[in-house]
Amino acid sequence: MAASTDTTAAAPSSTLRHASGNILAFFILLLIGVLAFSIRLFSVIKYESVIHEFDPYFNYRVTQFLTKSGVYDFWNWFDDRTWYPLGRVIGGTVYPGLTLTAGTMWKVLQMLNIPLSVETVCVFTAPVFSAFAAWATYLLTKEVKGVGAGLTAAVLLAMVPSYISRSVAGSYDNEAVAIFALIFTFYLYIKTLNTGSLFYATLNSMAYFYMVCSWGGYTFIINLIPMHVLLCIVTGRYSPRLYIAYAPLVVLGTLMAALVPVVGFNAVMTSEHFASFLVFIIIHVVALAYYIKGILSPKMFKVAVTLVVSVGLVVCCAVVAVLIAVVASSPTKGWSGRSLSLLDPTYASKYIPIIASVSEHQPPTWPSYFMDINILAFLVPAGIIACFSPLSDASSFVILYIVMSAYFSGVMVRLMLVFAPAACIMSGIALSEAFDVFTRSIKFYAFQAVDTVSVSTVSPQNNVVETDKKEDVLKERPSRKNKKKEKETVEKPLKKSEKEKRPLILPVEASAIALFLTVLLGAFYVVHSVWAAAEAYSAPSIVLTSHTRDGLHVFDDFREAYAWLSHNTHVDDKVASWWDYGYQTTAMANRTVIVDNNTWNNTHIATVGTAMSSPEKAAWEIFNSLDVKYVLVVFGGLVGYSSDDINKFLWMVRIGGGVFPHIKEPDYLRDGQYRIDSQATPTMLNSLMYKLSYFRFVETDGGKGYDRVRGTEIGKKHFKLTHFEEVFTTHHWMVRIYKLKPQRNRIRGKTKKSRSKMSSTKTRTITKKNPWH
């Protein structure tokens, strides 16, 4: 805040103050970096230095492979331990940015003789990059509204809970580096737009390349920037700077994006990228029009316009018709399912259960906005207003950014992450403007009190002149050829509006109180963010804790189960589970899995879903055909862990039923209600998932079988498994592992000698070893 007042009020002894301001800003930025890094360390302090959740385990495994085998083997890695028996070409289906970044960091550290383990580097990648993201935010906001706003925005971003949720230490996921890449790409775009420098344009396309390497969210950039370009053209803000900012990005960016194996030809083939090419054509047409306008007389120009427009319309119609024909020929209209669900929020839930089933693809609830961006939600509108006075190319971009990302965040909770930086930038601008006004008015009255000479008329004007000058300096760099023209077109209305507007001076009392309240608001934000970082978002989710009267309980069942698998099963055994646990099983237990969190093959997942929703015998046959040896289910009924497989079961039914129509969702619902108590349907009670989850469950509470998650007694309490046998259940029953029984050695005849058979089965059950007693 000090800096913001510093720079705006620096009038007379400017050079010295500038210098001290710069140094101050530098140290503030350094501290912001430290803040961004250290606020994300709660998870390490409270739990341990460990990789979190699901996807990070895959990234960690890939990074390990990279550090062991090198880049080329990574690129060509065919992984035969996932998606058995299909396998997965990891090198061609993974965004390599994160892995390469962490691998490079590890390599550099090794070369400096700092022997950190790969895991440590992976754990701390996200916090390091959130510091970078804060600095990138500073740069971007500085380009839009000056240093003060930049610093404020950087502070806000350093601790915005939404971003913390994806970048705490251990959360080693693509978003960790992608958010930095996103902001930095936007910064370079704005920088190019402001300077018109080809150097920055090139840097911009390289930053875009890094973003493409890192995250599928790069399509946001390649759609947002064309939209902004189009906006500028439509509002008559076309300039050569705009051309320089855009054209190299499309050409170089697309070329480089096609180099990333996972994107490849998608960079020119899918609808996500069409907008950029369309705008690329438009900007050339516009550039040509401006050029012709420059060399022709107005009259001739009119003739030319009518000629071009009529010809152009015909050509355009033809092109559009071809485009529509091409697009319409593909069933999804050339869009990927995830993108379609962005355009039509109900698309996924209607057609693609596998996308709808992922929790981070659900639309967010209102409280989650308050949780994730807190006071920023109130500051954003103020920031948007501030951006309109005056409206520049840069500020129009951030306005567009926030509008688009606000929409997307409303569709998919995961995209809150894209919204958060925009909200920070806007709030930074709003806060900075507010401080600007308040401190200015306080200062104004303070000066007035000291010096009764009419400073009032001088000081504000001074101020205006100063800012104008700054803006002139800022805008004066563009290529010398178009300097004049551009000044006429862009600067004049700007200046006029500035001069017309008198700086706002508020009463001193009001501004003092407002200043106090604003600081208080900021304090609330800090408190909330620290709380969110410490309590809400730092749990690694593979280790769970709960506080009860008796103290802290730690549930380390997941690692217990994976350790059991890795020690007690053969290295080539296949483990089937719902896809959520695929990455963890391969990374922690080193066992082959059937499906995992990279949900690329819907049929394969549907097969597993069908097996889980089938009766035992059918399930056994499905699993046996996939060479599965063990089945792993997650069960929370004993300890009240709510995200267990029974709660995910309806998705298995839906996804399975989507491919294998004999699985019907209504069979599992009683009057449209999902229940596992005595009212549950027979199909439900006979499904494999029910049986594997509740096998021997009544033994835990003396015959009642009370499920703490669903809050009911279970429907079917005493039953035996015919085709599966329990081999391991963790301490809190959260993970249960079953083995497929081998095929019967003999096929029994039809004669039922009840007496003799009873006796034989009885002796068998007694002699069978029970590993839990």
């Binding site: 039809k750 000698k753 034989s760």
Partner: protein
């Protein structure tokens, strides 16, 4: 040294049980080969030699050695002596016990004392000692062999053992097989319960290569098999005119079993290759039937000796693994032109697969010769299915191209032939796509594009040059 011990341990465990996966013998031989290099060769050789001697029943020597015979009555020992003597002359150690002997025990300290069990005790309701239905079935499930002879008035015990193996004796306790069409002509014109059956299964493995000319005399109860059960086989079926009923009472309802669906003698080969014979007649094995002349009703052929001896002897050879026992060893695969086994194949690689299959002749492993052994290259479904060619010395060989699909494949040999032990070999091998630098650098179809890009580059260069330096 410690590693060596564990290796020896592997040897012991793998040899002590008849394994159904064929990977174990390979492993054994490999570990042995490795051990040979080391200093302890002599010890290991000694140990394994001792092992094969004491543990006669093993993968290397699948024929049974020690057989427990449970009898109703010790008189059977003499009345069925020809059968027992033929077994003893072939080297089996028979241990005769009364079925209610309290000292009967199949295993001691977790090890089975016998390799085979003959139950000639159709009327026993309870075995003595620790033996019961479950123990007999566990015996079979651990790969041991079984001969069960029932008779009219067979006990529930025998019936339930049979039922557990898929053989359903007629539930009516008083019913026997009656055949007014193909009964054996004898001096006393009886009630046609002595049957001359000659409807044998056509299998050289089960019944030997010499054809059984004379009909087999049978007197006892019939049984039925579930047609869906692939593990049981009718070896001797009744004629179409046979039926199962009580000969003393008048037939009021149609008999539950009739015609050639009645099986007189059946064999079971369990999934672990344990073998069992179920006969509805104990007399089938008796000296009296062995020696008696036979003439089938309605047939003028009169044989001096019934086919029983040949039938029973050949069947016992099969059931005690003197015949029809296959093993597959030395599974090898490699790219054409190489010899080492790769850890991973690439799509469109040419590869060679070979396996050696031997049949146990009772005393040694002989090359198995057949022209229908197939190898599959399998990933959820067979992508390649090829009949392997053989060199008649046991080596089977096929070469084929890896399909243009990547994934985790398996070399599979599923060889199930009537009477033979089933071979199912599966070996997992991943197939990867091309590496980034294994594609062709330039492809002819793309030459227009190369031309376009290079001409654009040249044109741009010329344009820049002209634009910059033309003034």
């Amino acid at each position: 040294m410690r590693g060596l011990f564990t290796k020896i341990h592997i040897c012991l465990t793998s040899q002590s049980s008849k394994s159904q996966h064929c990977s174990v013998p390979i492993q054994t031989s490999r570990t042995l080969k490795m051990a040979k290099i080391s200093i302890a060769t002599v010890f290991i050789a000694l140990i394994s030699l001792l092992l094969t001697l004491t543990h006669s029943f093993s993968t290397e020597n699948p024929t049974d050695r020690r057989i427990l015979v449970l009898l109703d009555d010790l008189a059977l020992k003499s009345s069925h002596s020809i059968f027992f003597n033929s077994l003893q002359s072939r080297g089996f150690e028979l241990d005769f016990k009364l079925s209610d002997d309290p000292k009967i025990a199949l295993q001691r300290y977790g090890q089975y004392l016998y390799d085979g069990l003959i139950l000639f005790s159709p009327t026993t309701e309870r075995f003595g000692g620790s033996l019961d239905v479950a123990a007999v079935l566990d015996f079979v499930d651990s790969g041991k062999d079984l001969i069960v002879a029932a008779d009219a008035s067979a006990s529930d015990l025998i019936r339930s053992i049979a039922a557990e193996c898929g053989v359903d004796f007629d539930e009516d306790p008083s019913a026997v097989v009656i055949d007014h069409g193909s009964y054996a002509v004898s001096g006393t014109e009886g009630d046609h319960t002595l049957i001359a059956a000659d409807d044998f299964i056509k299998s050289d493995v089960l019944l030997g290569s010499t054809k059984i000319e004379a009909p087999v005399l049978f007197k006892g109860i019939g049984h039925s098999l579930n047609p869906a059960n692939s593990l049981v086989l009718k070896v001797l079926s009744a004629s179409p005119s046979a039926y199962s009923a009580n000969p003393k009472s008048k037939l009021s309802t149609p008999p539950s079993l009739s015609g050639s669906s009645i099986s007189l003698v059946s064999v079971v080969q369990a999934r672990n290759n344990a073998r069992a014979v179920f006969s509805g007649s104990l007399d089938l094995f008796s000296n009296k039937f062995f020696k008696s002349p036979v003439q089938k009703a309605g047939s003028s052929n009169k044989y001096a000796k019934s086919g029983n001896e040949q039938f029973v002897t050949e069947l016992s050879k099969w059931v005690f693994h003197e015949r029809g026992h296959l093993k597959a060893v030395n599974v090898k695969h490699h790219r054409v032109g190489e010899t080492d086994e790769p850890a991973i194949y690439r799509i469109n690689d040419d590869l060679e697969y070979s396996v050696e299959i031997y049949e146990w002749s009772g005393s040694s492993w002989e090359p198995y010769v057949a022209n229908d052994v197939q190898v599959q290259f399998y990933m959820m479904s067979p992508y390649v299915l090829k009949t392997m060619s053989t060199d008649k010395k046991g080596l089977y060989h096929a070469s084929f191209k890896v399909p243009d699909v990547y994934g985790v494949f398996q070399f599979k040999v599923e060889y199930q032939r009537l009477g033979y032990t089933s071979l199912s070999l599966a070996k997992q091998i991943p197939v990867r796509p091309f590496r980034h630098n294994e594609y062709e650098r330039f492809i002819p179809t793309a030459f227009p594009y190369y031309g376009a890009s290079f001409s654009t580059m040249a044109a741009f260069f010329i344009f820049s040059f002209v634009y910059l330096y033309s003034k």
